[in-house]
């Protein structure tokens, strides 16, 4: 009887633990690099190594999670040249800066088996505080906008230890507005539960 009680208790604990693992939150941070595209590239060209992303994902099942993500991506450029305006032209050294703060809710689907390297696909939907600033001479022009934003994502989760996962991913950020803004972010990070 005593043995049965111990086995039953162990089963309950293991069962509860198994349930908890399916419902657990993973929190992570990643170093984000950005590659501007289209209109974003016209404003500031070149690969950026400045950025960070913080996110949390809740495992709903072994293959599916939902979560939140917040990022801060900085792109900048320096160009010396002339900008043509209506009946005017301005020459100078133009410093351009983009600060993008995407705030997403997301869902991810994981392939492969728990415990192994798992490719995943994700969808991020939300908004982005998008600031563009241009400085020339002693003058600066700044525009801040809230934009609707989506970011499909693909990546890998790599087990690093009992509680720790590494992950790499690429996100294609698309922001509505006039003009639209687009860039790719490449993220390398770790997550823990």
């Amino acid at each position: 009887m005593k043995k049965i009680a111990i086995v039953a208790a162990a089963a309950l604990v293991l069962g509860a633990t198994g349930e908890a693992r399916a419902q657990e939150w993973f929190w992570g941070g990643s170093y984000s690099m950005s590659l501007p595209l289209a209109n974003t590239k016209d404003f500031n060209e070149g690969f950026s190594f400045r950025g960070v992303t913080i996110e949390g994902r809740k495992l709903i099942s072994e293959n599916f999670s939902t979560g939140l993500s917040f990022g801060w991506h900085v792109m900048n450029d320096v160009r010396t040249g002339t900008i043509e305006l209506d009946n005017a032209a301005a020459f100078g050294t133009w410093y351009t800066y983009t600060n993008s703060f995407p705030l997403f809710v997301n869902a991810h689907y994981y392939l492969g088996q728990p415990g192994g390297i798992r490719p995943f696909l994700g969808a991020n939907v939300g908004t982005s505080i998008y600031e563009q600033r241009a400085e020339v001479g002693q003058v600066a022009f700044t525009e801040d906008k809230w934009r609707f934003a989506v970011a499909p994502e693909a990546g890998f989760v790599i087990p690093l230890g009992w509680y720790v996962r590494g992950f790499v991913s690429a996100r294609y950020h698309y922001m509505t507005g006039s003009p639209t803004q687009q860039y790719l972010s490449f993220n390398v990070g770790i997550a823990s539960n």
Binding site: R50, V74, A89, T93, Q138
Partner: protein, 215 residues
């Protein structure tokens, strides 16, 4: 979660809002040109340019006195750029003999000294009176810089009805160079000459309409 916070903090370090500030004073230089779309620039315009650079803010509180040693060279650079457009210059004798140029060209300068005061508190102290339990006075300071602007203005001289008295002239074209003045006046002079060249380089229409390409 504590470990995660440390990781996030570490990742956040090195992230800046506006990286890559100007490293040279010449990077503050800007050249702006504006044209009157109603004025027809032809290939053979005549101009008259007085041999004086006029300081237009002389009476202002923030005005500084400028050296005049390089005036002749500066005017020569403007003149050579105008002649390079295919334009011809009328001198004082031509004007005295009653010839009227198409354009009157004026050279103007403005130089100012600007002082900006700032106040700062030790890190984490937003209140100047109590900071971490102690009185900590704010730190005051000031930053002063000198800025200069040079203008070349070409106005239609045909509108002059009463020479020697003020007339409202139709401005055909104007160029402005703006920059921060360095202590090294030689550097200021060189940058100004480059700026004058740039005014004309970005105004190719001054030499007349671009010919249609031959078929």
């Amino acid at each position: 979660m504590k470990r995660l916070g440390l990781v996030a903090l570490a990742l956040g370090l090195g992230v800046g809002c506006y990286p890559g500030d100007p490293t040279s004073i010449s990077e503050f230089d800007t050249v702006l040109t504006v044209r009157n779309p109603d004025f027809a620039f032809s290939e053979a315009l005549s101009f008259y340019m007085p041999d004086t650079i006029v300081q237009i803010n002389q009476d202002d509180d923030d005005a500084i006195e400028i050296g005049r040693d390089n005036d002749e060279d500066i005017l020569a650079r403007v003149r050579s750029n105008l002649l390079a457009q295919g334009w011809s210059e009328l001198n004082d004798d031509d004007i005295d003999n009653g010839q009227v140029p198409d354009l009157a060209v004026a050279n103007l300068v403005m130089a100012t000294e600007n002082t900006q005061w700032w106040v700062s508190y030790p890190p984490g102290c937003w209140d100047p009176y109590w900071c971490w339990g102690w009185y900590w006075p704010p730190i005051y300071g000031s930053t002063t810089y000198r800025a200069g602007s040079y203008f070349v203005v070409a106005a239609s001289a045909l509108d002059i009805t009463d020479p020697g008295n003020a007339d409202e002239l139709e401005v055909a074209w104007s160029g402005a160079m703006n920059g921060v003045l360095a202590q090294n006046t030689g550097s200021n002079f060189t940058r100004l000459l480059d700026g004058i060249d740039q005014m004309f380089e970005q105004s190719p229409y001054l030499s007349g309409p671009t010919p249609e390409p031959a078929n």
